[in-house]
C-alpha cells in the first residue's frame, strides 16, 4: 500500500488489535482486541502496571513491532500491510519517539542527534541545521548545540530526544516512560515541555507513564488491564 504524504485530522485508529507472545511454550496475550481512535491534537496518557503491554502497544503503533491481528491506521494509512522499509519511513516521517533512556547517539553532537532523522531522508545543509537549532532553542538547549550526549544531564538528554522526535514534524509523538529515568523536578519540567510542544504544534501524543502529573493534563486516559484498553477520563 502506498504511503501518502497528506496529513488528515483523524490521527490514529486502532481496530481490534491483538498481540501475544510465547514464553517457554506458553502463549501470553498482551493485547486483546484493542480499539481506540485519536483525533489530531489529542494528548493521551497510557497507564497500567509494569509488563501490561504499554510499550508493546507503542511499538505496534510505531511499526517497530507487528500485530497478530487487527488494524492500525495513522491518518488514512493502514500499517498492517506495509513492508519493513515502508514502516521505517512512516516512523521517520510521521512518528516521533521519545524513549525512557533517551537513546541518543553518543558519537553525534546534540544538533547532529536532532538532525539525524531529517538527514536520513537525504536532507542536508543549512535548512536542516536551522530547524534543529530552532527546536533546541525551543527545548532550552540553544547553548548546548555542539555538546555530546555524555556531558549532558538526564533531563538535558531527554530534551534533545524531544527535539529529535519533532524534527520531521510528525503526526504522532509516542513517549514511552519519558520521565521514568529522571528525578521528580526534572520529570515535571520534561512533562511540561512535552505537553507544551505537543499542544503548540497541535500534535497527537501518547505518553505511556506512571506519572500522575500527565494524567491530570492529558485529554484522554487509557488503562491497559489484562490485555484490554480501557478508556477513562483524565483529571483535566
Amino acid at each position: 500500500m502506498p504511503i501518502e504524504n497528506s496529513k488528515v485530522p483523524i490521527s490514529l485508529r486502532l481496530k481490534n488489535l491483538s498481540k501475544c507472545y510465547s514464553e517457554a511454550g506458553r502463549k501470553i496475550e498482551i493485547l486483546d482486541n484493542v480499539n481506540a481512535e485519536l483525533n489530531q491534537g489529542d494528548v493521551v496518557a497510557l497507564i497500567g502496571k509494569s509488563g501490561c503491554g504499554k510499550t508493546t502497544l507503542l511499538n505496534l503503533i510505531s511499526g517497530i513491532d507487528r500485530a497478530d491481528s487487527g488494524e492500525i491506521w495513522i491518518g488514512n494509512t493502514l500499517l498492517n500491510n506495509l513492508s519493513e522499509e515502508e514502516l521505517t519511513l512512516i516512523r521517520r516521517n510521521r512518528v516521533g519517539i521519545v524513549f525512557q533512556f533517551f537513546n541518543l547517539i553518543p558519537t553525534l553532537s546534540v544538533i547532529e542527534n536532532v538532525s539525524l532523522p531529517r538527514e536520513l531522508n537525504g536532507s542536508q545543509g543549512a535548512n536542516v541545521s536551522s530547524n534543529a537549532k530552532e527546536l533546541l532553542i525551543r527545548v532550552g538547549l540553544g547553548d548546548r548545540l555542539n555538546s555530546y550526549p555524555d556531558v549532558l544531564s538526564g533531563g538535558e538528554q531527554q530534551r534533545v530526544a524531544i527535539a529529535r522526535a519533532l524534527i520531521n514534524d510528525p503526526d504522532l509523538i509516542l513517549a514511552d516512560e519519558p520521565t521514568g529515568n529522571l528525578d521528580d523536578d526534572t520529570a515535571k519540567e520534561i512533562l511540561e515541555l512535552l505537553l507544551s510542544v505537543a499542544r503548540d504544534r497541535g500534535k497527537t501524543m501518547i505518553v505511556a507513564t506512571h506519572s500522575s502529573e500527565i494524567i491530570n493534563f492529558a485529554d484522554k486516559l487509557y488503562t491497559i488491564h489484562s490485555g484490554n484498553l480501557i478508556p477513562g477520563q483524565s483529571g483535566s
Binding site: 511499538n59 513491532d65 521505517t88 547517539i105
Partner: protein, 854 residues
C-alpha cells in the same frame, strides 16, 4: 574457583557459543602453526640423525673424508693395527630414481660381517636380514635391498631391476629384498635407502678401494674410549677425520638453524596475532557481562574472585583450544615436514630419510603457548572486570574515555619500544635471535601506536566523508568511540598484513636479486649437467663428454665446473667449485676484489681463490686484502689467498671458487659436474642444443639446456624453497582474518541496541547495513594504510638484517606497487567480510527487542 562463579561462566559460554568457538579457532590455529613448524624442524633434525643410524642405532662416531672418499686400508688398519671393535665400513652416495621423478635416494654398501652390524642385536635396523639374503647380497653382482618406502612408491617387486642414475651413468640394480622393521623407529632409519654389499657399492659408484665413512661405537665416558679415540685421531691421515655423531648433528643443525628459526618466528607471529584475537573476545565477554559482574560485586564477590573467574575461563578455553591446535598441528605438520625437508634438500644437504615424529616437548610447547597466550591476553580484560564498582557499574563509555585519554601514553610507550627494537638491530652482532626479538618489539611498538594513529586518521576521514552526511561523519567517530576495541582489531590486522607485505617484499626482492644474479653469472649459452643433481653428491659427468662437446659444430668454447661438497674442520660444510676462466670472473659481481678481472684470473692460476658472500659472512671474513684460507688438499694442507668476495645466491652453505687448473693440480679429481657451452653463432643455440642432445644421447641422466631454460629452472627451484614461507604467510593471514572477523563482529553485535535505536528513529535496514560496511571498510582501510610503512620497515629488516644474518646474502631492495594494493585489498576484504553477519542479523532482528531497556 567458587562454584556459583563457575556456574556463571559456564552459563555465559553456553549462551555465547559462537564467541567461544571463534576464540577456540583462533587459539587452535595459532597453536597448530607453532606445533606444525616445531614438528617439521624436529623431524628434519631427526631425519638427519636417523640417516646416520642405518647400521646401528648406537654408533657414536663416524670417520669421514674432509672432501672425498678415503682409502679402505684405513678400515683394515683400525681393526687390525689398533684392534678396534664395533665398527663398520660404508661406501655411499646419492643416486636418482628416474621412475620417481629423479627422487634422490642413498645407495649404501657395507660389510655385513662387520661386528657393528650385530652390536645392537635385535634392535639393529638390519636385524631382520636372513642368512640367505645376506649370502645373496654378497654373492650376486648388482644385488640390493630396497627400503619399503621406495619399493612402494616405485611399485617394484623382488626379483625386478631398478634403474638408477649416478652422474651420467645408469646403474641397474637387482632388488632381492625389501628392508623393513616391525619397529617403527628402526624402519624410519631405513627410509630412502638402497642397501648393497660393500663391494657392489664400490663397483656401482666407481669407488673401488675407497670408503665414504666408517661407523663406530666409542664410549667417550671411559678412559679406554678416550684413549681409543685419541689413537684413531693419531692414526688417521690428513683429510680424514673422526667426528662424533652429536657433532655432526650439531653442525647440520647449525646450518639449518637460521632457516628453522625463521619458520619458528613466523609461527610465533601467528600467536602474536592470536593474542589480539583472545584479548578482543575476552574483553568483549567482559563488556557483555558488565551488569552481571556488577551484580556479583554488589552481592559480595571480591575483585580477586571476579579476576579469577575471567582468568579461569581464559585458561579453560586456552587449554581446549591448545588441544585442538595440537591435533591440527600434527595434521598440518605432515605437509610442512615435506616442504621443510624439500627446502633443506635444495639449500643445505640431501635428506633421504623422511621422518615424521611428534615429541612430547612439541606437545608441551604447543600447550604452553596456547595457555600462556590466552592468560596473557586475558589479563587486561580480567583486570577491567575486577575493577567494576559494585554500586556504580563502570560503564563501557567510562572505560573508553579512559582508553582515549591513555592513547598518547600508549603512543609514547610504542615509540620507546620501537626505538629499543631499532637499537637491537643496529647492535654490532650477528645474532639472529636478537634481530627476531627486535622485529617483535617493532611490531609491538607499532601496535601501541595504532590507537593514536587511528584517532588521527578517523578525524581526517570524518572530514573527508562529511559530504556523505551524518553516516559519513558518524562512522569514523564510532571507530574512535570504541577505540579500545577497534584499535586492537586494527592493530591485529595491521600486524598480520604488514608481515604478509614484508614477506612479499622480501621474497620479491630476493627473486629479483636472484634473477639479476643469474643473468650476470650464467653467461654460457648452453649448460650440460646431471639431471636432479644432489647438493651432497660427489658424482660427476663422464670426462669423455667434454671432448665430444668441444668437437660439436657450432661450439665456440666450453667452460667446466667441478663442484664438491667440502667439510672442513675450520669452515664447516661448503661447496668447493672449480671453474675455467669464462665462468670465474666474467660478469661476476663482487663485493670486493683485490684487482681487475684479468689480474684476478692470473692470481687464481697460482694461489688465489674467490669466496662467496655467505662463506665470508659465516666465517667472519671481512672483505678486504690479506685474508687467507687453509684447505686440506690431496697435496697436503695448503694456504690460499682470498682475492675477492662475490655475490652468490646458490647454496647457503657458501662457495669457495678456485680455478680449474689449480684445483686439478692439488686434488686428484678428473670429474666434471657441469659444462657451460659458448656457441659461435647466438642464433643457432637451439640447433646446437638439438645436436648435442643427439650426440650425447648415449649418456644417461644428462640435461642439456639453453641459458633461458636453465634460468627458468633455477627460478623454479628458488620459488620452491619459499613454498613453506608462503604457506605460513597464508596461515598467518587466516589467523588475522579470524581475529578481525571475531573482534569486528563482536563489536557490531555489541552495538545491536544502538542499531535498534537507529531503526526506531527511522534508519532503514539498507542505511544501517551501509553504515556497518562503511565502518568496517574504514577499519580495513586504516589497517591497510598502517601496514604499508610497517611492512616496508619490516621488509628492510628482513632483507638487510635477518636475511643477512640467516643466510649471509645481501639482497637488493625491490618493491612493486601491487604489494600495497594487495595489502589494502586483503585488509578491506577481511574487515568487510566481518560485517556480513552483523549486517545480515540487523535485517532479522526485532527492533523492539533490540531497544528494550537494560
Amino acid at each position: 574457583m567458587n562454584y556459583p562463579l563457575l556456574h556463571v561462566s559456564i552459563g555465559y559460554i553456553k549462551k555465547h557459543l559462537l564467541q567461544s568457538i571463534l576464540l577456540l579457532i583462533g587459539i587452535a590455529f595459532s597453536v597448530a602453526l607453532i606445533v606444525s613448524v616445531d614438528i617439521a624442524n624436529q623431524s628434519a633434525s631427526r631425519s638427519f640423525s636417523l640417516s646416520k643410524e642405518i647400521l646401528s642405532t648406537k654408533s657414536t662416531h663416524h670417520i669421514l673424508g674432509t672432501y672425498s672418499d678415503f682409502d679402505e686400508e684405513i678400515y683394515k688398519s683400525l681393526k687390525l693395527k689398533l684392534g678396534l671393535k664395533n665398527l663398520a665400513p660404508i661406501v655411499e652416495d646419492y643416486v636418482n630414481i628416474a621412475e620417481l621423478d629423479g627422487r634422490a635416494v642413498k645407495l649404501l654398501g657395507t660389510d655385513f660381517f662387520a661386528d657393528l652390524i650385530f652390536h645392537d642385536g635385535q634392535n639393529s635396523p638390519l636385524s631382520n636380514l636372513t642368512q640367505n639374503t645376506l649370502t645373496e647380497l654378497i654373492a650376486k653382482p648388482g644385488a640390493a635391498l630396497v627400503s619399503s618406502d621406495i619399493a612402494q612408491s616405485a611399485g617394484i617387486k623382488i626379483g625386478e631391476t631398478l634403474n638408477v642414475t649416478y652422474g651420467s651413468e645408469t646403474l641397474s640394480i637387482e632388488i632381492i629384498g625389501v628392508l623393513d622393521s616391525q619397529n617403527d623407529e628402526l624402519s624410519k632409519s631405513l627410509g630412502g635407502l638402497l642397501l648393497t654389499d660393500i663391494s657392489t657399492a664400490q663397483e656401482l659408484l666407481g669407488k673401488v678401494g675407497l670408503l665414504s665413512q666408517i661407523d663406530l661405537v666409542i664410549d667417550e665416558e671411559t678412559p679406554e674410549g678416550l684413549s681409543a679415540l685419541q689413537s684413531i685421531r693419531d692414526y688417521l691421515p690428513a683429510g680424514v677425520e673422526v667426528k662424533s655423531k652429536d657433532l655432526l648433528l650439531g653442525s647440520a643443525k647449525s646450518l639449518t638453524r637460521s632457516f628453522e628459526l625463521n619458520l619458528t618466528a613466523l609461527s610465533l607471529l601467528a600467536l602474536f596475532v592470536g593474542v589480539f584475537l583472545i584479548y578482543n573476545i575476552v574483553s568483549f565477554s567482559v563488556i557483555q557481562r558488565r551488569s552481571i559482574i556488577g551484580t556479583l560485586r554488589s552481592i559480595g564477590a571480591t575483585r580477586r574472585q571476579i579476576f579469577k573467574m575471567i582468568m579461569a575461563e581464559a585458561l579453560a578455553i586456552g587449554f581446549i583450544g591448545s588441544l585442538i591446535g595440537i591435533a591440527g598441528g600434527v595434521l598440518l605438520g605432515r605437509s610442512i615436514v615435506g616442504l621443510v625437508t624439500r627446502s633443506i634438500n635444495d639449500l643445505y644437504f640431501t635428506l633421504t630419510v623422511s621422518n615424521f615424529s611428534v615429541s612430547p616437548e612439541t606437545i608441551i610447547k604447543g600447550l604452553l603457548a596456547g595457555i600462556l597466550a590466552a592468560l596473557f591476553a586475558a589479563l587486561v580484560p580480567a583486570y577491567e572486570a575486577s575493577s567494576f564498582r559494585p554500586i556504580n557499574i563502570l560503564r563501557r563509555s567510562s572505560f573508553e574515555s579512559f582508553f582515549l585519554k591513555s592513547i598518547k601514553l600508549f603512543g609514547l610507550i610504542g615509540v620507546i619500544v620501537i626505538a629499543l627494537g631499532y637499537v637491537l638491530i643496529i647492535l654490532p652482532t650477528k645474532s639472529l635471535v636478537l634481530s627476531l626479538i627486535s622485529v617483535f618489539l617493532i611490531l609491538f611498538g607499532a601496535s601501541l601506536l595504532v590507537p593514536i594513529s587511528t584517532t588521527l586518521l578517523m578525524k581526517l576521514f570524518s572530514l573527508i566523508l562529511s559530504p556523505m552526511g551524518l553516516i559519513g561523519r558518524m562512522s569514523p567517530r564510532n571507530i574512535i568511540r570504541s577505540a579500545s576495541r577497534t584499535a586492537v582489531a586494527i592493530a591485529s590486522l595491521t600486524v598480520a598484513i604488514s608481515v604478509i607485505l614484508s614477506v612479499s617484499i622480501m621474497i620479491g626482492s630476493f627473486r629479483s636479486t636472484v634473477v639479476n644474479w643469474l643473468d650476470s653469472t650464467l653467461t654460457a649459452d648452453i649448460f650440460i649437467s646431471m639431471d636432479s643433481p644432489n647438493i651432497s653428491s660427489q658424482a660427476g659427468l663422464n670426462p669423455k663428454i667434454l671432448d665430444e662437446v668441444i668437437n660439436t659444430s657450432g661450439v665456440d668454447r666450453v667452460a667446466t665446473v667441478r663442484r664438491i661438497s667440502y667439510n672442513s674442520p675450520g669452515y664447516g660444510l661448503f661447496n668447493l667449485v672449480a671453474v675455467t676462466k669464462a665462468l670465474a670472473t666474467e660478469n661476476r659481481e663482487f663485493i670486493w676484489k683485490e684487482m681487475d678481472n684479468e689480474q684476478l684470473w692470473d692470481q687464481m692460476q697460482h694461489n688465489s681463490i674467490l669466496i662467496s658472500e655467505s662463506f665470508a659472512y659465516r666465517n667472519n671474513i671481512e672483505p678486504g686484502p690479506a685474508k687467507t684460507i687453509e684447505l686440506q688438499t690431496d697435496q697436503g694442507l695448503k694456504e690460499f689467498d682470498v682475492s675477492g668476495v662475490y655475490y652468490d645466491y646458490g647454496a647457503q652453505t657458501g662457495v669457495l671458487l678456485i680455478s680449474d687448473d689449480l684445483y686439478r693440480s692439488l686434488w686428484q679429481d678428473d670429474k666434471i659436474t657441469s659444462l657451460g657451452v659458448y656457441v659461435s653463432n647466438i642464433d643457432h643455440i637451439d640447433k646446437t642444443v638439438r645436436e648435442l642432445r643427439t650426440k650425447l644421447s648415449k649418456y644417461s641422466n644428462l640435461v642439456i639446456r639453453s641459458n633461458d631454460n636453465l634460468k627458468q629452472s633455477a627460478i623454479k627451484t628458488f620459488d620452491r624453497t619459499f613454498t613453506v614461507t608462503s604457506a605460513l604467510r597464508i596461515l598467518i593471514a587466516i589467523v588475522a582474518f579470524i581475529s578481525v572477523l571475531s573482534s569486528l563482529m563482536a563489536l557490531q553485535l555489541e552495538r545491536e541496541r544502538e542499531f535498534g535505536v537507529f531503526r526506531a528513529i527511522g534508519m532503514t535496514v539498507s542505511q544501517l547495513r551501509g553504515m556497518i560496511f562503511l565502518e568496517n571498510g574504514l577499519i580495513g582501510l586504516a589497517s591497510g594504510l598502517f601496514s604499508i610503512p610497517l611492512g616496508v620497515a619490516l621488509s628492510l629488516i628482513l632483507i638487510y638484517v635477518i636475511n643477512l644474518r640467516s643466510f649471509g646474502w645481501t639482497l637488493n631492495f625491490s618493491i612493486e606497487p601491487r604489494y600495497f594494493i594487495e595489502a589494502i585489498g586483503i585488509a578491506l576484504i577481511a574487515s568487510i567480510a566481518a560485517g556480513i553477519y552483523p549486517a545480515y542479523l540487523i535485517g532479522k532482528e526485532d527492533v523492539g527487542k533490540l531497544i528494550r531497556e537494560e
